[in-house]
Every structure is written in structure tokens, then in C-alpha cells.
Symmetry: C2
Subunit: 189 residues, 2 copies
């Protein structure tokens, strides 16, 4: 190996903070062994909403990508296609606002969809700065199959959640977004 010089070792036992911050008493299972047979103390991360939200979101997105692998469609692409499908003639700035994607980042996304023959930019005579977005025939056909796949994905997710949680989760997410502000674009600094 070709790295880092040797550094004087410090006693590894000291608990950084006075309190333990969770239930587990450090040292009943010494974590500083080799094979790492005992569990790692993640506290307080598993009790943080943000951390668990992130892990869960990654798991759900991964399932989405796997489910839609046949069509090579990612969540963001599906969202844009869906909005165009529901609101044909929309401008990019409208999609940007609706989905919280900065208009500057939407360009490449639309470019891709256009290159793949799924969506189309059409000139707007009334305002020659903007484009009216539409699905192509191929895009519409794809969405037909895609929605079915995404429905299947959603069913897996809801099965994982269980019946009682299913109806409570979405309102929670809405409350978080409303109270903390939308996490993405929009606020155009």
C-alpha cells in the first residue's frame, strides 16, 4: 500500500459525549473487535426522520427502477411524462414549478425524452419564447404499459407498508412538505 504515514494511536475506549444518547450501553459488547460480529451502534440515526426517510426513499426508488427496467425509465422521467400526459401543451416552466425541478435542469431531461421519441416540443405562436409539450404516439403507448408497471410497483410498496399505514403515510408527507417548504426548485432563490 502506498498511503498515509503512521499516526500516534490514542486510547480508543473513551465515550465521546457524557450521556449515552440511547438505550444501548456501550461496552457490554465491545465494538472494537475484528470480525465485527456484534451490531454497530447507529443511534440516534434510526430515530431521525430524515435518515429513515432517505433510506426508505432509496429502497422504494430502487424497486421502481427495477420494476420499470424493461422500459429504462427512471422516477424523474416518469414524473415528467405523467405531467405532460395529464396536461398536454404545458410549458417547461410549468413542469418545473409543478415537480420542483429547476427549469435549468429540466432541459436535459426533456431533451432525452425528445431524443427517445417519447415527447415533443411544439412552437407556441402566442409566445415564441416557450414550447408546448406533448407526448408522441410512441410516448402515449409507452405510458399505457408504464402505468401498469408503476401500479404494480406501488402495490408492492403498499403491501410492505400494511393497510393501516397506507392511508396515514401520504398525509404525513404532505404535512412535512407544507411545513418545511418544498425541497427542490420552485423558490428560484
Amino acid at each position: 500500500m502506498t498511503r498515509r504515514a503512521t499516526i500516534p494511536v490514542q486510547s480508543a475506549a473513551a465515550r465521546p459525549r457524557g450521556k449515552t444518547r440511547n438505550g444501548k450501553s456501550r461496552n457490554d459488547k465491545t465494538a472494537e473487535r475484528n470480525g465485527r460480529t456484534d451490531a454497530i451502534d447507529l443511534s440516534p440515526l434510526p430515530d431521525r426522520v430524515g435518515y429513515m426517510l432517505r433510506r426508505a426513499q432509496l429502497a422504494v426508488f430502487k424497486n421502481f427502477v427495477r420494476t420499470c427496467a424493461e422500459f429504462d425509465i427512471r422516477p424523474a422521467q416518469y414524473a415528467v411524462l405523467t405531467v405532460i400526459e395529464n396536461n398536454p401543451g404545458l410549458k417547461q416552466i410549468d413542469i418545473s414549478t409543478a415537480l420542483g425541478i429547476k427549469r435549468t435542469n429540466l432541459v436535459a431531461l426533456i431533451d432525452l425524452l425528445e431524443r427517445r421519441g417519447l415527447a415533443r416540443r411544439e412552437p407556441v405562436p402566442a409566445d415564441r419564447r416557450s414550447y408546448a409539450l406533448h407526448l408522441t404516439a410512441r410516448g402515449k403507448t409507452l405510458m399505457g404499459k408504464l402505468h401498469a408497471r408503476v401500479d404494480a410497483h406501488e402495490q408492492q410498496v403498499r403491501d410492505a407498508l400494511g393497510a393501516e399505514a397506507r392511508d396515514r403515510l401520504l398525509p404525513m408527507m404532505r404535512r412535512l412538505i407544507a411545513a418545511l417548504g418544498p425541497g427542490s426548485a420552485d423558490e428560484e432563490s
Copy 2:
């Protein structure tokens, strides 16, 4: 403007799919106007767990970053620092597994923490392939202040959620992760 050639316009009215897929009857408010005064139809996105999870996660992370701006610490850095704090002497591979960060991506993260003088790689005599990770004194001091900030952030999030939701959300996230598999590294393909 220097782009795209003119494309023949197609009728913008046609509803792409046979069914409406949501409650809103398209066309009671025609969406194809100019000023975009009426709402955009996002269905079925706001009812998708993945979509709402993503929007909420971005909102929460944004709040986290804002709250910890003074220390210039991002969620991933906080997670790594926390794990090292709780389990001094840990190897990178252990952190990788615990947090779902690929060991290959953890390198730059640890490099940064080391460069900032917050963490330290120490040689392990028993296994000269790996390093034992520790917080520096400066890292420990930072974590003291940081935990307080993150606690404040967490309180804001929990206030936004409301009391009844607070206790239900985390178990839901656990169920999603358990059922769908951890979204990140680990499974080392």
C-alpha cells in the same frame, strides 16, 4: 433563438388514456392556457408513496442543511461522524455496511473529514489492510454542538408531523426498508 425546426402541431385536447385516473375531470378548467392560472394535474403522483417520500425527504434534508449551515455539515457527513463517535475504532467497510454507502464512495467522504481535522485513520496492527477510525478532539467538540443543532432540526420536523404521526412514521419506514431491501450499497452486487 437558434433552436429546433418547426414541427406540425397535433390536437392537444385528446386525453391520453381511456380512464381519467383521478377525480379531477380534465377540461372543467382548461389547462392549455397561457398564464397558467389553474392548477396542474399531477395525478397519480401525489398518491405515489415514492414520489411523496422523495419530495418530503428533500424538504427535510434542506431543513437539515440550513440548520447545520454554520458547521457546513451535510446529512451524510453527520451520519458518518455519528457512527464513528458511537463506535470508535470502526473500519471503513463496517461504516459502509451500516450506512448503506459503498466502500468505494466512502473513501472521499472520510478523506474530507480527515482533511477538515474531524476524523482520523489509525493503523490496525492486527490487520494492516484496514484503518481504525476515530474522531479527533476537534471532531468530538464539533459533534457536541452538532447534535444540539440536529436535535433542534428534528424537533421542527416532528412539530411539522404532529404528535400522532410522529410515532407511526419511523416504523413505517422500517417496514419499507425491510420489505424492499436496503436502498443503497450493502448488496455489493
